[in-house]
Each structure stands twice: as structure tokens, then as C-alpha cells.
């Protein structure tokens, strides 16, 4: 594995990480930075956030996210699944909107409580 310099995206602090060829991470402020550093050079992942169409709510859209980070390469495939979905109010934070999206084993969940009108 190549040595790499990365900026940690785990939190807004944005630590400058160095990952050596044996996957040792330095420059991290917290342990999550080490995990991120390793992950980013082996299998980079991201949380996808977007919206889905919702009926019978005060607003036409409900914000959603992947419950866990998903492989970076799957982002657009997941977006296309998200954009096909239509749900009905009421919906609550954490409700599963799409189960196992794009075969990632990760669910897409609702991020806002939206009552029926």
C-alpha cells in the first residue's frame, strides 16, 4: 500500500492524517481518525444524505440518510434508488425507507418527523 496524506472527515476538526504503508495512522486527534485513515486507503466509505418524495405531509420532501457509511463507489447507485421512492406521512426519525440499499446491507432511514396533515 502507498503512503498517503489525508484530511480526516470524521468530524469538522479535519485532522491532517498520514497513513504509512503498513496502515499506521498518525496526525489523528482521536481514535476515530485512525479508523478513518485505514478505511480511507483500503475501502473508502461515505454517508449519503438526500430527500425522498412524501405525500400528505406539510412539505413535499422528507430528508433521509444511509444509516451507516456505504462504499464510495455506490453513491450514485444509491441516489438513483432514493430518487425512485415515494412515501406517505406520517414518518419518524429512524424509520427504514429503503432496506439494504443497492445491496450494501445498509438501510436508508428517515431524518425528520413528518406528521400526516
Amino acid at each position: 500500500m502507498e503512503e498517503r496524506d489525508l484530511i480526516c472527515i470524521v468530524c469538522p476538526r479535519g485532522c491532517h492524517l498520514h497513513v504509512d504503508k503498513d496502515l499506521n495512522v498518525t496526525g489523528n486527534f482521536c481514535p476515530r481518525g485512525a479508523v478513518y485513515g485505514k478505511q480511507e486507503v483500503t475501502n473508502p466509505t461515505r454517508v449519503v444524505t438526500s430527500t425522498v418524495r412524501i405525500d400528505n405531509a406539510e412539505l413535499p420532501l422528507c430528508p433521509v440518510k444511509t444509516k451507516d457509511p456505504i462504499p464510495k463507489g455506490k453513491i450514485f447507485e444509491i441516489m438513483s434508488s432514493i430518487n425512485k421512492v415515494e412515501i406517505k406521512a406520517p414518518v419518524h426519525i429512524g424509520d427504514v425507507i429503503i432496506k439494504d440499499v443497492a445491496g450494501t446491507g445498509v438501510d436508508v432511514i428517515a431524518c425528520r418527523n413528518m406528521e400526516k396533515i
Binding site: T51, V52, R53, P60, L61, N83, K84, V85, E86
Partner: protein
């Protein structure tokens, strides 16, 4: 057959329409833009000049002075904000003092009240003016006026009295058929006994369809800064009380510093000829020059309060005077052209003159027995007492809900503007009627809501709502969401 067709719904076209609506005439106004007063009448200095400065005996002098005298009543009848706060023309150098005297003489010849003030008197009135000032000419009858509602309320009044208005329709050609004209537009053909050319920057184009004219219009651009109403609600003196000008020059009245009727400040205009009448772009170098010249008169202008820059084109005629006369070869075709500054303040007087002195002798119309010179007043909750506001909100709760945070425009005011005889189809039109979106956030907060209200009112999608001109949609498509 129309009795009169007016080409152009700027301030001039709108006031001619209003004056004609006092007669039993079938009048049609054709305007190419999406709203009335959307070109020169919108982007100017918003000043009701006193009339001290035009050369005595010219049309400019005559209509300016007449228009200025009409202002208080017209603005009362049409519910337009107007303040007679006076104008100050400054002499910054000793050698300019004789010119002040000449200007005072000219004011006298034009029948305009004017006083020469000493340095001390100037600074007492306007403590923020440069201490280098040597004296000034004070004209108490000059003032500031809301240029947006002056035009739109005049047209609304005309429409209430029976005039017809076609927006977004461009006149392509006018042909004299002997006893009538054929007016051809991009949408239809109309017949009219009298045609009035109030086409502003394009007026020479239409005049040429009738005569070999010896004059032409040069669009002359003026660029401005707009500052927030930083002192509006503060107690004590305003940053600048009267309109502050330098001495006038060949290029015009020069760069002014003026409070507006909404409590904002405008600084400008520059003055540069342009080729394209639709070129209202701004550039940093010209604006920097505007800033420098204004700062020489009023050093502490808080440019950090800038909320917008804009530019407008004046219809400068090659003969340097308003052209208000019938065509040489076709006397029922009336040119009202070259109405540059002081056009705004002159427009009510021009309207009266064109209707009464030029159109009436041709058509000899009867008075319109139903003519009403006033419009239904606009309700501005913030100008009412607490009790009045609560009574209003009880009757119509929408006056209690705020749409525009910065300018504090209620939903009720927006609905009122949308439900008048004068169409209000664009975001800009609504902004000019109500001030929603004119504030420091420039529509950042209220524009989505304004688009929603416009699309609901007109039964169209938000993608069809324009900011102002054709192709000026704000949202372009729906995000692909859901099954459809």
C-alpha cells in the same frame, strides 16, 4: 378600432394613459416588458427635481416645473411615497460660487424657489457634508419620490378608469392608413385613430416610421449603489436630509447622494453612452469613480451598507430637450421622446399636456363621467397604529403574517398587490409594488415563498415564474423525486 394606442408603459406612457382615462376614449397601452415601468422609469435617481436647472423656455423647464407643482396632489391621489426634502447643489471650490449665482438666476427665471446658503448654513443642515463646502443652492421644492409606484399606480388608476394594457407584446410596425393607423405587434394587429410614441429608449425607432427625423436617442447609462436603510429607525438626524448634488455639467446633474422614500440611500449615477439599449451592466471601475466623486461631497458614506448596485439607461435626445409634438407628416402620430432627467417628475405634466392639448383637439372626446383620480389605497400595516393594525388583522389575518423579513412586507400586502387591476406577474413586479425582496438579504429569505405565492395566484408551476424578463426563471426543473 382604438381611439388611442400608446406604445410604452413607462412613467410617461402610464401618465398619458391616466390623463386620457379622464375622457371617454378607447385607449390601449402596449408594453414589451413583463411589467410597467420596467426600464428607464425603474432605474433612475428617484428624484422629484424642483426645476431650477433646465434652460428657461425649454420643454424640460416647462414640464419639470409643472410636474413638480403637481407632485403633492398626484402622489396623494395615487398613494405614492413622496417627500419634499429639498435639494442642495454644492459648490466645493471658491471659483464655483459665481455658478451658484447663475443657477439661482436660472431658478428665478423658471419660477422656482431657490436660496444660496453659506458654508455654515449648509453644514448646519447637513453635518455629514464635507467641511470643504463653500456654499450651496437650496431648492426647497425638490424632493424624492418612489419611482416604482409612481408609474405603476398611475397605470393602475388608468386601468381602473377603463384603459386597456397589453404586457409582453412588442410593437413591430406602425403604418398610416389615412384615417387610421395599423399597429402591428408580435402578437396581433390593431387599428387606432391616434398613436402615441412613448417608447423611451426605442422612441426614435418608431418616430422614423413616420418621418425623416433629425434627432436620435443615445442610451446613456448611469450606475448606482444602493445602501441599506441604516438610519431609518434610529432617532435623530438622517445621514443626509436633502438630495445632495454637485454643480451640474454638460453630462447631466452629476453624482448625487440621496435618501430614498424607503429610507435607503442611493449614490450615483455615472454617465456613459452605450450602443445597446438593453445594456444595464455595471462595472467596478465606473462604480469606483462614482464612489470617489460622492465621497468628495459626503466623506463618510457607509459603503459597507451596500445592498445592491444597478444601472439604468437614460433616453438622451440629440437636441437635448424633451420632444413632445405630433409627427410632421402624420399629425395623429404623437412623439413623446427624449424624456431623460427630469423625466420622472415631469411625467404627470406631460400626461396632462399630451391628453388635453394634443389628443383632445384631434378626437374631441367627452369627459369620462366615471373617472376617479384616486386609486384604492394600499394598506401598509407598519404605518398604522397598534389598534388599527389589530383591527385589520382581525378582518384579514394575512396582514399579520410577515413574508419579507427585511422590508417587513406582510402576506396581506402581497395578496393585495396581486389582486389589483394592474397585473403583477413577476418577482420584480411584486418587489416594485410591495418592496418584498428589496432589503438587505435581497430576497434570500422570501424569494422561495414569493415564487410559491405567484405560482399559486396565477395557477402555474414555480418553473414558469419569472424574475423579470423573458427566460429569467429562478427554478429550472423539479428534482427527480418519486415515481413521476
Amino acid at each position: 378600432m382604438h381611439d388611442v394606442i400608446i406604445i410604452g408603459a413607462g412613467a410617461v406612457g402610464s401618465f398619458i394613459a391616466r390623463s386620457l382615462s379622464a375622457y371617454k376614449l378607447h385607449t390601449l397601452v402596449i408594453e414589451k416588458e413583463t411589467d410597467v415601468g420596467d426600464v428607464t422609469s425603474m432605474a433612475n435617481s428617484a428624484i422629484a427635481h424642483s426645476g431650477y436647472d433646465p434652460v428657461p423656455g425649454t420643454n424640460k423647464a416647462k414640464f419639470n416645473v409643472l410636474g413638480n407643482k403637481m407632485m403633492p396632489e398626484v402622489c396623494k391621489d395615487l398613494d405614492v411615497e413622496f417627500e419634499m426634502n429639498g435639494t442642495l447643489t454644492l459648490a466645493l471650490y471658491e471659483e464655483q460660487l459665481p455658478t451658484l449665482k447663475d443657477l439661482a438666476e436660472r431658478a428665478k427665471l423658471n419660477g422656482v424657489e431657490a436660496h444660496i446658503l453659506s458654508k455654515e448654513e449648509v453644514l448646519e443642515r447637513e453635518p455629514n457634508i464635507t467641511k470643504d463646502v463653500k456654499g450651496a443652492l437650496f431648492c426647497p421644492t425638490g424632493g424624492i419620490v418612489n419611482p416604482f409606484t409612481l408609474t405603476s399606480h398611475a397605470m393602475e388608476n388608468a386601468l381602473d378608469n377603463g384603459v386597456e394594457l397589453h404586457l409582453m407584446e412588442a410593437v413591430l410596425n406602425v403604418e398610416d392608413k389615412g384615417d387610421h393607423f395599423i399597429v402591428k405587434t408580435d402578437k396581433a394587429e390593431y387599428e387606432a385613430k391616434v398613436v402615441i410614441n412613448a417608447a423611451g429608449l426605442s422612441s426614435d425607432k418608431f418616430a422614423k416610421m413616420m418621418d425623416d427625423i433629425t434627432w436620435h436617442i443615445t442610451p446613456r447609462k448611469g450606475q448606482y449603489y444602493v445602501l441599506n436603510h441604516f438610519d431609518k429607525d434610529l432617532p435623530g438626524k438622517k445621514f443626509v436630509n436633502s438630495v445632495v448634488f454637485p454643480l451640474p455639467s454638460e453630462k447631466g446633474k452629476g453624482i448625487l447622494v440621496s435618501r430614498t422614500t424607503s429610507g435607503n440611500y442611493i449614490v450615483g449615477p455615472s454617465s456613459e453612452p452605450v450602443d445597446d439599449i438593453s445594456d444595464v451592466s455595471t462595472d467596478s471601475m465606473t462604480l469606483a469613480n462614482v464612489k470617489a466623486q460622492a465621497t468628495a461631497m459626503v466623506p463618510g458614506i457607509p459603503f459597507g451598507e451596500q445592498i445592491r448596485v444597478y444601472a439604468g439607461n437614460r433616453s438622451t435626445p440629440s437636441n437635448h430637450d424633451f420632444i413632445i409634438e405630433p409627427s410632421k407628416n402624420h399629425p395623429h402620430f404623437i412623439n413623446v421622446a427624449g424624456i431623460e432627467s427630469p423625466g420622472l417628475v415631469s411625467s404627470p405634466a406631460i400626461g396632462e399636456y399630451v391628453a388635453n392639448e394634443l389628443v383632445c383637439p384631434i378626437l374631441k372626446p367627452e369627459k369620462n363621467p366615471n373617472f376617479k383620480k384616486t386609486i384604492r389605497p394600499y394598506i401598509r400595516p407598519l404605518n398604522l397604529s397598534l389598534e388599527e393594525r389589530n383591527a385589520l388583522i382581525k378582518k384579514n389575518p394575512d396582514f399579520g403574517e410577515m413574508v419579507c423579513n427585511c422590508e417587513r412586507v406582510s402576506l396581506g400586502e402581497i395578496e393585495d398587490a396581486l389582486n389589483r387591476s394592474l397585473p403583477c406577474m413577476t418577482i420584480k413586479a411584486l418587489k416594485k409594488r410591495t418592496r418584498a425582496g428589496f432589503g438587505k438579504c435581497q430576497g434570500g429569505f422570501c424569494q422561495p415563498n414569493v415564487i410559491r405565492l405567484l405560482s399559486k395566484h396565477y395557477g402555474v408551476t414555480p418553473m414558469e415564474i419569472l424574475y423579470d424578463k423573458a427566460d429569467s426563471e429562478i427554478v429550472l426543473s423539479e428534482a427527480t423525486k418519486g415515481a413521476k
